[in-house]
Amino acid sequence: MKRLSSSVDAAPGRSPRQAIPFLLPALVVLAALVLYPLVFSLIRSFFDATGDEFVGLSNYVNTFTDKRTLIAFRNNVIWVVVAPAAVTGLGLIFAVLTERIRWATAFRLVLFMPMAISLFASGIIFRLVYEEAPNQGVVNAVMVGVHDVFSPSSQYPNARPRSGYTQTEAGFAADAPAQAGDVIMLPLVGVNAQQVPAQALPASTPQAGAGELRGVVWLDVSLNGNAGKIDGIERGLPGIAVEAVRDGQVVARTTTGDDGRFTFPDLARGEVVVRLPLSNFELPFRGLTWLGESLITPVIISCWIWIMTGFAITFIAAGLSAIPRDALEAARVDGATEWQVFRRVTVPLLSPVLLVVFVTLVINVLKIFELVFVIAPGSAQEEANVLALQMWQVSFGTGGDQGAGSALAVILFLLVAPAMLFNIRRFRRERS
C-alpha cells in the first residue's frame, strides 16, 4: 500500500517525458484555440486596416483619442463601479432572506430564471419594458398611471389659437387688446374632433352688452377654406379657462360653457388682454424618455442586474449553507441581534465567496455587449457604447478596420486580465 502511493506521488514531477503524451492533446487544443488567437490579435493590432502595413502603436494612439472609444471607456468604468457591487449586494440580501423562508428553493428558482434566458432575448424584453409610449412600455405606463391620479392631464393637449395670439409662459395672450363691449372670436386648432367632449354644443357668435366682454372658443376646422369663421357644424369647446389681464395682473377669470362661450360681466373701463392659460393645453404626462441619451446606461444596467442577481444568489446561498451553524448560534446565544449576526458573523465568513462572485461579475461586466447592442436605439448607441461593442463595430461594422479592432481587443484583455489572475490565485490558494 505504502509503496504504491509513493510511486503515484513520484510520477508527475520526475518524468516529464512520460507526461508529454498525456498533455499533448490538451496543449494542442489550447494553443490552437486560445494562444494562437491571442498572439495573432496582438500582432494584428500593430497593422493597419488592410493588414499589410506595420503602423506601430498608432492604432492604440487613435483608440485613446477617439471620442467614441473614450465614451465607451467611461461607460465601462460606470458599469464596473455600479453593476457588480449592486448585484453582489442584492444577491447577499436575497440569499440571507430566503434562507429563512419555507419556499426558499422555489423563490430562488424564480430569481434564477432570468439567467436561463439569453441575454439577447432579455435585451428585447427590456427594450419593450422601457418603451417611451405609455401604451407599450410598462414602466412609463405605471408612471403615467400614478401621475394622472394626482394631477389629471389637461383636456385639450397641444391645442392652440389659430392666429392673433402669442405664446408666453403664462399662456396664449391676444396680440390686440380688447375692452368692454367687444366680442372675442377665438378659433382653436390642434384638437381632434373626437377629443371634443360629448356635451359640447354648436358654437355661435355671442352679443356683448354694455360693460361686459363676451367671446366664444371653438374648434375651427379649415375644411373648404373656412378658416377662422364659425361654419354651422363647428362646436364650442367647453371647460377652457380664460383670463382677462390688465397691466400684467389678472383682473377676471372664467371658464367657457358647453357652447364655448365665455363672459366677463363687470369689466371696468380700460383695455384688457384676453389670455388662455397654458394649463388648458398642457401635453399629457408621458413618462420619461428611458431610451434617450441621458438615461440609457442606467436602463441597461438595470436589465443586467435583473439577469445576474439570480447568479449571485445561487453562489452566495451555497456559501451560506457552508457557514458553520454553531458560529451563528454562539453569537445569538451571546445576545447579538440579527443585524449584528449578519454584519459581524455572516458577512465576514462569507467574504471569500462574495469576493469571487464580485470578481466574476466584474469580468462579465467588462465584456458586456449584447444588452447594449439590443437595448440602445441607434440614436442613443453612442452614449451607451461600451468597449466590447466598440470593438465589434470597429472590426466588422464600419468598413472593417480589424487592426484598430484588435487594438481594442488587446486593451479589453488587459483590463480583464487582473481580475482573471485574481480569481485564479484565489482558487489556487483555496485548494492549498
Binding site: E132, N192, Q381, Q393
Partner: protein
C-alpha cells in the same frame, strides 16, 4: 419530385413568355450538372422569391444554383470568403463602395460583353455608372428600392380634404392643416439613422441638383457648402415645427414610424419611406396598400425636376466560367426580374420589364417612377460614402442628422460636425 418538375416547367413557361422581348434570353445551352453559388442579403420571403428566380434559371439551362443568404452581414461574409479563397460565383452587394473595393482588390471579374450590352439596352445610362469602377462594368442593379416616396393615410387626408402635395411648400402647408386636426403631420423613424439620410438625400438632390449630389457623395465639396445649408434649412421647415413631427422621433424605429400612421391609433398622417414601407403596412397593420395607404413621390423643392433616390443590390461576379456568365446574363434580362416582380416586393430599374408584371398598381407606379426619372436617378448617398460616415449606428452622418432632428435650428453646428466626420472617414 415529378410534380415539382411540372411546377417548375409551368413557371418557366410563364417567365419565358415575357422573355421574348428581352433579347438577352438564354441561348438554350445545356449546363446540366454544373453547380454555382450566389450569396445575397435576402432572407425569409425574399429568399423564397429569389430562389424561384434561380429555379427559372435552372429550368432554362439545367445548372444548379445554390443560394446562400447572408443578411446584414453580407460584407463580412463576402470578405471572409474572398480572403479564404472560396468566393461564390455571384454576389448581390448593396453597397457600391464595397463593389469598388472588391474590384480594386482584383476579386471581381468584369462582366462579359453580352451582359454589358444587356445592361445598356435595358437600363437608363446612369445605372451603368453605378456598377462601373474605373470605366469597367463590374455589375448591374438587379433589385432596386425607390427611396423617394411619402406614404400617407387616406383617411387623415380626407378629413382635411387634402390632396397629395406636389411641392415642398405644399407639403409644409398640408402638414400644418393636418396638425390642426390634432394629428402630427409626419412620423419620422429617427432611431434608425438611415431614414434621416434618405430624407436629407431627397431634399439635397432636389435643391442642389444631381451634379452637386455626385460631388458631395465623393466629398469633392465639403459639408459646409451653401448647398448643404439650403437643404438642411428646407428640412428644418418641416422638422423644426414641433406640432408637425410625431412625438419621440429619436426613439422611433422605421417600422414603428410606419405603424404610427397606419396602425390602430394613428399619431401621424404621413411617413416618408422607401417602397418597402408597403410590406411593413401589410404585415403589421390592417390598412390596405392602395386604399387606406397611398403614396406620393417626394415633392419637388423650389421647382426641381422629377428625381429619385434609389438603393439597390448590385449583381457582381467573382468567377467567369460559363455557368456564371450565363446566370449574369439571365439576371440582367427582363425575364428574371419578371419572375420576382410577379411575386411582389420587388422593383427593378430594368425598363423592359412590363408594367403588368408587377402585382398591383402601387408597385407599378413605384417602378414606373424609377424608370421615368431616367438619368435623374441617384444612388443613396450614404451607401456611397465610407461606412464609417454613412453606415454606422450612432456615428457619422447618421448621428449628426439625429442631432439635427433633435435641434433643427442648429444648422451651422451640424454642418461643421458633418464635415469633421466626413473628412475623417473619406481619408481612410
Amino acid at each position: 419530385m415529378k410534380k415539382q418538375w411540372i411546377a417548375l416547367l409551368a413557371l418557366t413557361a410563364v417567365a419565358g413568355s415575357g422573355a421574348c422581348t428581352g433579347g438577352a434570353a438564354g441561348s438554350g445551352e445545356d449546363l446540366k450538372g454544373q453547380t454555382i453559388e450566389v450569396v445575397g442579403p435576402w432572407t425569409g420571403d425574399e429568399q423564397k422569391s429569389f430562389e424561384k428566380v434561380l429555379a427559372a434559371f435552372k429550368a432554362k439551362t439545367g445548372a444548379e444554383v445554390k443560394y446562400t443568404p447572408a443578411g446584414d452581414e453580407l460584407p463580412t461574409v463576402l470578405q471572409t470568403r474572398i480572403s479564404g479563397g472560396t468566393p461564390p460565383n455571384v454576389g448581390m452587394v448593396a453597397q457600391p463602395g464595397l463593389v469598388a473595393q472588391f474590384a480594386k482588390a482584383g476579386a471581381l471579374k468584369p462582366v462579359s460583353a453580352e451582359v454589358e450590352q444587356a445592361v445598356t439596352r435595358h437600363n437608363a445610362a446612369v445605372w451603368k455608372q453605378f456598377g462601373s469602377v474605373d470605366g469597367k462594368l463590374y455589375g448591374f442593379t438587379f433589385k432596386t428600392a425607390n427611396k423617394s416616396a411619402f406614404w400617407y393615410s387616406e383617411k387623415a387626408f380626407q378629413q382635411i380634404g387634402a390632396t397629395p402635395p406636389a411641392t415642398w411648400d405644399d407639403l409644409v402647408k398640408t402638414s400644418r392643416s393636418v396638425a390642426e386636426t390634432g394629428l402630427a403631420a409626419v412620423s419620422v423613424g429617427g432611431a434608425d439613422g438611415w431614414t434621416l439620410t434618405d430624407w436629407f438625400e431627397n431634399v439635397y438632390l432636389r435643391t442642389a441638383g444631381p451634379d452637386n449630389y455626385d460631388k458631395l457623395a465623393k466629398h469633392e465639396i465639403p459639408w459646409t457648402d451653401p448647398t448643404v445649408r439650403k437643404a438642411l434649412e428646407e428640412l428644418a421647415k418641416l422638422w423644426g415645427e414641433q406640432t408637425l413631427v410625431a412625438g419621440g422621433p429619436l426613439q422611433t424605429e422605421f417600422p414603428k414610424s410606419v405603424i404610427n400612421v397606419f396602425g390602430e391609433s394613428p399619431t401621424a398622417a404621413m411617413v416618408f419611406g422607401a417602397d418597402f414601407a408597403a410590406s411593413v403596412i401589410t404585415k403589421n397593420t390592417k390598412a390596405k396598400v392602395g386604399e387606406d395607404a397611398k403614396f406620393f413621390p417626394f415633392p419637388s423643392v423650389a421647382g426641381s425636376k422629377d428625381a429619385v433616390v434609389a438603393g439597390g443590390d448590385t449583381a457582381v461576379q467573382f468567377k467567369d466560367d460559363k455557368a456564371t456568365t450565363e446566370l449574369m446574363k439571365f439576371l440582367a434580362s427582363p425575364e428574371s426580374g419578371e419572375v420576382w416582380a410577379g411575386l411582389g416586393g420587388f422593383l427593378s430599374p430594368n425598363k423592359d420589364i412590363k408594367s403588368s408584371a408587377y402585382p398591383d398598381e402601387v408597385t407599378q407606379d413605384l417602378a414606373r417612377r424609377i424608370v421615368d426619372a431616367g438619368d435623374n436617378v441617384r444612388f443613396d448617398m450614404s451607401d456611397l460614402a465610407p461606412a464609417a460616415f454613412g453606415g454606422t449606428k450612432g456615428a457619422g452622418e447618421w448621428k449628426d442628422l439625429q442631432d439635427f432632428l433633435a435641434d433643427p435650428k442648429n444648422v451651422d453646428g451640424i454642418m461643421a460636425r458633418l464635415e469633421t466626420n466626413a473628412a475623417k472617414a473619406y481619408v481612410k
